[in-house]
Every structure is written in structure tokens, then in C-alpha cells.
């Protein structure tokens, strides 16, 4: 059993969720409410990781994270270290790869909040910020939960993008999914089986918890 790989996987999934969900709430809300030119283009860009093969996405990320590329060199200037083959690198890649999984459920949820509820909140004296916290967020909570569940589970299982950008450095970029592949390559079927069961259980429990939490809304039941 590769415990360091499990640790990398969990850290990666949790960090991706923590960073991505607030961004997705902002982005999903903006896309749901705002009308602007190029909105379709914006949505297409966000959905792109959904349809690209992970290796293709990983390849482009690998290129752009390089020290000669704008993103990589900017990061190197800011922090003094590179992005490729680091935890930060795979985290950044994971954020981009998970964008559609996080944004889309939240955007749909915001779209289903009737506009006049926000107006009713304003007429009740609630500031836009209070309206977000007390009316909109509770109403889109199921969307946020499913975004978090999808992001978490998808990050645990991500293989292609991580392998391209991060390689398989022990304790740094080797996630459980990659460790399983390594075990199989090394003809250690028992090790691969153990880790597969573990990954399966962790994913299942996470999803179960999240959907269970999201489902506990008395008011939604007719």
C-alpha cells in the first residue's frame, strides 16, 4: 500500500475543492445572471476540459507550465521555482481540468433561482451581499454540493493530466491512480488491487456523504 500516494491524492482533491468552489460560485453566478457578448465562448472554454482527452489537456498544460512559456516563466519569476513535476503544478492542472465539473452544476443552480426572489430580498432591505448569503447560497447549496462531490471524486480518479504535468514523483506528484498504474506495470497485482479498493471506497464514501448532506432539505420536499 502506497500511503504517500493516498496522501497526495487526498491533499490534491481537498485543495482543488477548497480553491475551486469559491471561484466556481463566482463564475457560475456571473454566467447565470450576466448577459454579455462572448458568453457562449466563455462557457465553451470552461466546458473544454470535459471533451478534450486528458493527455491532450495535460500536454498543453505541460507546454505552458514550462519555463519558456508565459505562465511557467511568470510563476518562476514570482516564486523562483517551476511548475512542472511539482505538487503546485498538478494542483493548477487539476483546477483547470475540474473547471467544468465545478462551474456547471453551480451555474445551473443559480439559473434556477427565480429572479424575483432576489428582488423580494432587496425589497426586504437585504443588501446584495446579504441576499447572496441568506437567499441565493442556501438555494444553490445542492448545486454547490454536487460540484464539490464531482470535483473531489474526479480529482481522485484523474490520471492523464496528472501524469503529463506531474510525472510520478513519490510524495509530490504520484497520486493513488498513478501508483495503481505503476503497481500493475511492476506485476504487483495485489498492491494494485488493495489501492483500487481503497480508491473505490474513498470515492464512494465521499459521494455518499455529499449527496446525503445535499438531500437533507425539508423545504424542498413537496
Amino acid at each position: 500500500m502506497d500511503w504517500s500516494a493516498l496522501s497526495v491524492s487526498l491533499r490534491l482533491a481537498a485543495s482543488t475543492c477548497l480553491i475551486l468552489i469559491p471561484i466556481a460560485i463566482w463564475l457560475g453566478r456571473a454566467l447565470a445572471y450576466a448577459r454579455f457578448r462572448g458568453k457562449g465562448l466563455c462557457e465553451a472554454l470552461i466546458a473544454l476540459p470535459l471533451v478534450l482527452p486528458p493527455t491532450v489537456l495535460g500536454f498543453y498544460l505541460l507546454l505552458s507550465f514550462g519555463r519558456d512559456a508565459p505562465v511557467g516563466s511568470l510563476w518562476a519569476n514570482l516564486t523562483g521555482s517551476g511548475l512542472n513535476f511539482t505538487f503546485t503544478g498538478i494542483l493548477l492542472a487539476s483546477l483547470i481540468a475540474n473547471l467544468p465539473f465545478a462551474v456547471q452544476p453551480i451555474q445551473r443552480a443559480f439559473e434556477h433561482v427565480p429572479h424575483n426572489l432576489r428582488e423580494a430580498a432587496w425589497c426586504s432591505g437585504l443588501s446584495p451581499w446579504q441576499t447572496l448569503l441568506r437567499i441565493e447560497l442556501p438555494l444553490v447549496w445542492p448545486g454547490i454540493m454536487s460540484a464539490a462531490a464531482l470535483t473531489f471524486a474526479h480529482t481522485l480518479g484523474e490520471f492523464g493530466v496528472i501524469l503529463m504535468v506531474g510525472g510520478a514523483i513519490d510524495g509530490e506528484t504520484r497520486t493513488l491512480a498513478i501508483a495503481i498504474y505503476d503497481r500493475v506495470q511492476a506485476f504487483d497485482e495485489q498492491g494494485a488491487a488493495q489501492m483500487s479498493v481503497l480508491l473505490l471506497l474513498v470515492s464512494f464514501i465521499t459521494l455518499g456523504l455529499v449527496y446525503g448532506l445535499a438531500g437533507r432539505r425539508r423545504w424542498a420536499r413537496g
Binding site: N116, A120, G125, R218, G222
Partner: protein, 396 residues
């Protein structure tokens, strides 16, 4: 713009400006824009008064309500309430809805589905200290007769109960104006009657202007002190229901109020007396005829209540007032009321309602010839208007 001279017709501008001077605590709205929703509306509503905005769908009623609430910002206009200016396009001043202190009941109530009835009512109580909010919300719940249902979520309430929660939530904010957007349209008729009654009772306890948007004329007549008639975003006339129904400012207003008996007549002089020539008849008119030039053709209207049907067997009151023989062309029984259409010799149709038993007693059947009087006091002249040309709004 405005209505030259005629009886109950108001010159909109002077009425508004006059009202502003005496206003103080009331609501005063003037809105004008060419597009995207064309608007040219002005109305006032005094504290404790209920003003109904009526008009067909698309006449801008809801947009005007949203303008008052600050949810819509027209290009030009002025909204003033209780002495505070909420919106003034000239000064580019517009308070956000949060700072306007309006109580708004939305058409589908817009209750927050994730909050209980009590929590819905508590939400706008932000102006009170935390400790008082619950007690205050419970008081409101009791006021709209929902005590005991505070813990229910909106989806567990009936349409009428939801409407009451929405009303309580609107009033809980201690608003300076209460805005009701078709508040009775989403409930069945029995509930509607009951809620209308409750609103009428509740009104006596609140001393703020109330603006009701409705397309239901009966509802407006029953509840409102003042009615403002809207058409394509233009406010045509504001007046009390009685005045409006007896003295519409134009044939268009009359039509929007579902009034019949709109005709045209010519001003003539018969034996030294001014008369209104209508076909072969010379009508005596109590008011307004003297100022009109001879030969002028004017639109006129007669409320159905001012058509007196004479009994065959004995003469009745007012028999000598504009007597007229006419042929019954249509008798429609609608329960206890019968709608009767009479064809006058030159082809115009008079329409009025009488009790069904009275129609039977008078043997009103198709083709029968009857005698009626058109009461001189009821004849309402609309100088400057023609019946046909006025089918579409011709105000400049």
C-alpha cells in the same frame, strides 16, 4: 396634452403638480420614456388611499410598480414618497430598493422557499434589534390570521396562505408604500373574494399609500379609492371609480373600462335651446353643452344606469326627459341580470342591464318596441374626441 374642458376630465399635469403641493406623506410618480418600454404615466396616491393601476396586459402596470420599488429605472421621471425623493432622473438620483422602504407583494408571492413562514416574515425586520424580531414576526403572522402555521415552509401552504405570508412580509418592513402586483390572480375565486375582504379590512389599519396593479376592473372598483387607467404605458385618467365610470375622459378610457353606449352627436340649437343632435333625436344635456360651438361633433357617453326603461302600463319618473322609442335587438340572460341591447332608429345601439325579473315583467323580447329616457344629467360629453378615430390612442 390633457383633456379640454370636459366634465370629469382632468388635465393630468395640473392635477399632479397641485397634488404635490398638498402631498406630504403621499406617493407621487411621474415617468416618461420612449423605449424600450414606452411610458408616459403620472399618478398620485395619498396615505391610506388605495390606488389601482388598471389596463390591459402590456400597458405598463407592473413596470410602473417596479419603478416605484426601484427594480426598474426609466429614462426620465420622478418618484417621491413621504416627502423623500426616491428617484429623480434629472439629478441622476436613484435610491436602491433596499433604501426605499417599500412593501412589495409579488404576483407569485416570491416567498423564500428555504425559509419557514415565520422566517420569511422575520427577514425584512432587519431594522429592529434581534430580540424583538421574533415577537414582531409572530404579531404579523397573527394579523394575517396564520398563527400556528409559522413553522411551515411555503410549499406546505395553500395559495391563499402564501399570499398572506407575502402580505405580512411586505408590511413587516414598516414600509412607506405598499405595492401589490396582481396579488389575487394566483388563487381560486372563493379564496380571492376572502383575501380581497381581508385586504379591505387590513387597509383600515395602515396609513400609507397602497398601489394595486390589476387587470380585473371589478376588483379595482371594489377595493380602490382611486383608479388610474393605463394604455400602452400612458396614464389616461386618474379618478375615483364612480367618477371614472360616469365621466370617462375619452372614448378610449371608456372602452378600456368596458363601457358601452359611446356615441357621437352634433351641437345644435332648437327653439333657442342648445341640444345635442343624435340621429333624429335632439337630446337635452345637463352639463357642458353651452360652451361648445354650434355644429361641432362630439363623442358622448351615457352610463347604463342613466337609461330609464318606461313600463308599458304606467308612466314613470323622468318620462319627459329625452324620451326615445327603440327596438329590442338582443336580450341576454346572465343569471339574475339581463343585458338588453336596444336599436335606436338611426342604427346606434343602447346597452344596459336590468334585473332578469324586471325584463320578464316588461316583456322584453327581440323585436319589441320600448320607450326609454336618457337622463340629461348622465349624458357625458367628450369634446375633442370622436368615437371612431379614438379607437387607438391619439393623444399627442
Amino acid at each position: 396634452m390633457g383633456w379640454p374642458g370636459a366634465g370629469g376630465g382632468h388635465v393630468a399635469d395640473s392635477r399632479i403638480t397641485g397634488a404635490v403641493a398638498e402631498l406630504g406623506a403621499g406617493l407621487c410618480v411621474a415617468v416618461k420614456q420612449a423605449g424600450p418600454i414606452p411610458l408616459a404615466a403620472e399618478f398620485v396616491c395619498q396615505p391610506g388611499e388605495l390606488l389601482a393601476l388598471v389596463g390591459p396586459s402590456g400597458s405598463g402596470k407592473t413596470t410602473l410598480l417596479r419603478t416605484i420599488a426601484g427594480l426598474y429605472r426609466p429614462q426620465n421621471g420622478h418618484v417621491e414618497c413621504a416627502g423623500d425623493v426616491w428617484f429623480d432622473a434629472k439629478r441622476k438620483h436613484s435610491l436602491p430598493p433596499q433604501r426605499r422602504q417599500v412593501g412589495m407583494v409579488f404576483q407569485d408571492y416570491a416567498l423564500f422557499p428555504h425559509l419557514t413562514a415565520l422566517e420569511n416574515i422575520q427577514l425584512p425586520l432587519g431594522h429592529l434589534p434581534q430580540s424583538q424580531r421574533l415577537a414582531q414576526a409572530e404579531q404579523w403572522l397573527a394579523k394575517v390570521r396564520l398563527d400556528g402555521l409559522g413553522k411551515r415552509y411555503p410549499n406546505a401552504l395553500s395559495g391563499g396562505q402564501r399570499q398572506r405570508v407575502a402580505l405580512a412580509r411586505a408590511l413587516a418592513r414598516d414600509p412607506k408604500v405598499l405595492l401589490l402586483d396582481e396579488p389575487f390572480s394566483a388563487v381560486d375565486q372563493v379564496t380571492r373574494r376572502r383575501l380581497q375582504r381581508e385586504l379591505a379590512l387590513l387597509r383600515q389599519q395602515i396609513e400609507i399609500p397602497i398601489v394595486l396593479v390589476t387587470h380585473d376592473l371589478e376588483e379595482a372598483t371594489a377595493l380602490a379609492d382611486q383608479i388610474c387607467v393605463l394604455h400602452n404605458g400612458v396614464s389616461l385618467q386618474q379618478d375615483s371609480p364612480e367618477a371614472l365610470f360616469s365621466r370617462p375622459a375619452s372614448p378610449l378610457v371608456a372602452r378600456l373600462l368596458d363601457r358601452h353606449n359611446l356615441f357621437e352627436g352634433t351641437v345644435v340649437e332648437v327653439a333657442g335651446q342648445r341640444r345635442l343632435q343624435w340621429g333624429e333625436t335632439y337630446l337635452e344635456v345637463a352639463e357642458g353643452l353651452a360652451n361648445l360651438p354650434l355644429g361641432e361633433t362630439v363623442a358622448w357617453y351615457l352610463p347604463p344606469s342613466d337609461i330609464v326603461l318606461h313600463r308599458r302600463d304606467r308612466p314613470s319618473q323622468g318620462e319627459r326627459e329625452n324620451p326615445l322609442a327603440a327596438t329590442v335587438s338582443e336580450v341576454v340572460v346572465l343569471g339574475g341580470i339581463t343585458s338588453v341591447s336596444l336599436r335606436v332608429n338611426h342604427g346606434d345601439m343602447l346597452r344596459f342591464d336590468i334585473a332578469t325579473h324586471a325584463a320578464r315583467r316588461n316583456q322584453l323580447t327581440r323585436g319589441a318596441v320600448v320607450n326609454v329616457s336618457l337622463l340629461a344629467a348622465g349624458i357625458h360629453l367628450m369634446p375633442g374626441h370622436r368615437v371612431r378615430a379614438d379607437a387607438h390612442d391619439k393623444r399627442k
